[in-house]
């Protein structure tokens, strides 16, 4: 069958990194596809995307969009919004808007870091275990069973308390408890793919595990893992906020959760008006970010997996 070998060869050629024209065409194609997906979003999905983009811009340009430093007092303490401080100041007189911009960066770092680590690590584990099978697969399945029933938040508190508060530690702890979902998805997909005829024929033509992985498994599984990673980002941001709220956050990098922690630890916050800016704005930012991420992953789920319908 000459056609199949031809196809395989031409397929290989187009992915060679040396051809800039092909790369540009690929990028353009990717952009066009993305635009099409976004166009098909519901109103809620588009709104969520706008919110996320807003936060990303905020995080990237944090030093430029806030007039005051995020770590030094710049006014009267507990000043209400207005008069130079758009969202007021906290008990030390630090500008809340500046802190929120900085917090966006921290939340995104934690969220994306965890998602990358857990999504890629879990996905890879799932692929290997599904493809290799045998003892390794059995062991991983038992491990996943155990991870699924252990309540994750108490373990996170325990680990965070022992490891000590630092951003890297928090990312590691969160990733340790979020890889399970992507591993399961990847594994079940591999088990299904392994039985497909085109994989079998590729194997018959001498395709090795490495080749199959890059050529067939990853392209098939990546969209599902990517959606899962967006979901993980949201969950990691929530968990980080929870840990920070309990006082287990990294004090040197003030996330939104930590601002809420300080605000709620302030004595007498309930009997004053301070919460209307000190607590409300980080709350709004956190809620908007988390719900937007969830809505986007919901929309993308329908694109990546046509079987998932409401």
């Amino acid at each position: 069958m000459p056609e199949i070998t031809d196809l395989m060869e031409t397929g290989q050629d187009s992915t060679l990194p040396g051809a800039p024209g092909a790369l540009a065409a690929k990028a353009l194609d990717f952009l066009r596809k993305t635009a099409k997906i976004i166009k098909n979003f519901s109103l809620l999905g588009k709104l969520s995307l706008a919110v996320i983009i807003f936060f990303i811009v905020l995080a990237v340009f944090a030093p430029y969009v806030s007039a005051y430093p995020y770590n030094l007092p710049s006014g009267k303490s507990l000043a209400p919004p207005g008069g130079g401080h758009p969202l007021g100041t906290d008990d030390l007189g630090i500008d809340i808007w500046a802190q929120l911009c900085r917090g966006a960066k921290i939340s995104l770092i934690v969220g994306l870091g965890t998602a990358l680590l857990a999504g890629l690590g879990g996905g890879l584990l799932g692929i290997i275990s599904g493809y290799v099978g045998g003892i390794l697969d059995k062991f991983l399945m038992r491990l996943i069973d155990i991870m699924l029933v252990i309540p994750d938040f108490p373990v996170m508190i325990l680990l965070a308390a022992f490891l000590g508060p630092s951003l890297i530690n928090i990312i590691i702890v969160l990733a340790l408890f979020s890889w399970v979902s992507s591993a399961r998805i990847a594994r079940s997909q591999i088990l299904m793919l392994k039985e497909k005829t085109y994989i079998k024929s590729a194997e018959l033509y001498g395709a090795g595990a490495w080749y199959l992985m890059w050529k067939h498994f990853l392209p098939e599984i990546f969209p599902l893992i990517a959606v899962q990673m967006i979901r993980l980002t949201g969950r990691a941001i929530i968990s980080e906020a929870g840990l920070s709220f309990l006082g287990l956050g990294d004090p040197t990098s003030k996330s939104w959760g930590l601002i809420i922690h300080y605000a709620t630890s302030f004595k007498g916050i309930y009997f004053t008006e301070f919460w209307k800016w000190w607590l409300l704005y980080p709350w709004l930012f956190l809620t908007a970010m988390v719900t937007s991420l969830a809505f986007i992953s919901r929309e993308l789920e329908q694109v990546a997996d046509p079987r998932v319908k409401r």
Partner: protein, 327 residues
């Protein structure tokens, strides 16, 4: 069937063993000297170290001069007798403190599980019945929105709006201290009044999952043949939905309820801290603040074992009510 139950039992036993071992190993794997900061309030004044004799006494007292495997067996033995160590900060046995706080957490978690399941299922059925009508669309949007907000954020806003702003509910605690209750009813009312907002926060953020599942499950059941028969018999709508369909739509909900218990407990720990509710969650925050590791570990162990037991129970119940799984 009995054999399957036994298999599950073994699996759960292994999980509990893993958790206990993790609990034993963690403090020993982390670098550092446990007695370096024991006497000091913060890490800065570490200079106040113990004398060599004191250190040796403490090492011996906690059995840390023994080989690790011996420590492990001692730990297991003590745990088996209900000894989870001694709190450095509270100067009480850990088991005593934990058992004192546990009922409040159990009360909160159980009430919100029951409430969210009941309300979620009913609303889900209602939505499936009125599918694609405006009620369904509105409920669906409302539910997916609230199910994505984490419970402690929900609790924070409830606290500030209803308790701090409007003054409808107490700000913190589980009962009014030093109150002179005339009757048991009055006391029960007081407890419910305090518990209302935390339970509401947990219930609302948990409602969405049950609702979506109930709606999906109901929609599939409604398309079954035996329901067409029920309709054809001319039974009233309510009877068809709540008698014929609900029974079969309930199965996936039952499993979900118990499987979601773990995340609910995580939420409860945070929500308790929002409302300063005197359960295990607030205890955990306090112990984290004063670095009372035996207490943190004790809470972790008790919570995990409770969740695992509940999951095992769910397995057994599920096998009982679904004849297809049992045989």
């Amino acid at each position: 069937m009995r054999q399957k139950t036994r298999m599950r039992l073994i699996e759960y036993a292994i999980t509990i063993w893993v958790v206990i071992t993790l609990n034993f190993l963690l403090p020993r794997l982390i670098p550092g000297d446990p007695f370096l900061v024991l006497t000091s309030q913060s890490a800065e004044d570490e200079e106040i170290v113990l004398s060599e004799e004191q250190r040796e006494f403490l090492f011996h007292y906690y059995g840390l001069d023994q080989p690790v495997y011996k420590q492990y067996f001692i730990y297991l033995g003590e745990l088996f007798r209900g000894n989870m160590g001694f709190s450095v900060y509270y100067k009480q046995p850990v088991s005593h403190i934990v058992m004192h706080r546990l009922p409040w957490t159990v009360f909160m978690v159980l009430s919100s599980v029951i409430l969210s399941t009941l309300i979620g299922t009913i609303l889900g059925c209602f939505s499936a019945w009125r599918r694609e009508k405006w009620v369904d669309k509105f409920l669906f949007l409302f539910m997916i929105f609230f199910s994505e907000i984490p419970s402690f954020l929900l609790g924070l806003i409830l606290l500030f709006v209803f308790a701090a702003g409007l003054g409808l509910f107490p700000l913190a605690g589980a009962v009014t201290h030093f109150a002179d209750f005339q009757s048991g009813w009055e006391k029960a009312w007081d407890v419910l009044h305090h518990a209302f907002l935390p339970i509401a926060a947990l219930t609302i953020s948990h409602l969405g999952g049950t609702y979506l599942l109930g709606r999906n499950s109901m929609t599939t059941v409604l398309e079954k043949d035996y329901l067409r028969t029920a309709w054809a018999k001319g039974l009233p709508k309510k009877r068809v939905i709540f008698r014929h369909a609900l029974k079969n739509a309930l199965l996936p909900i039952v499993t979900r309820v118990f499987l979601s218990l773990g995340s609910l407990v995580g939420g409860a720990i945070l929500v308790e801290n929002v409302f300063s509710y005197p359960g295990l969650g607030t205890l955990m925050r306090e112990s984290v603040r004063v670095q009372d590791y035996p207490v943190i570990q004790g809470i972790f162990l008790v919570v995990t074992v409770c969740v695992l037991l509940a999951n095992f129970l769910a397995d057994v119940v599920y096998r009982k009510i679904d004849p297809r799984v049992g045989s």
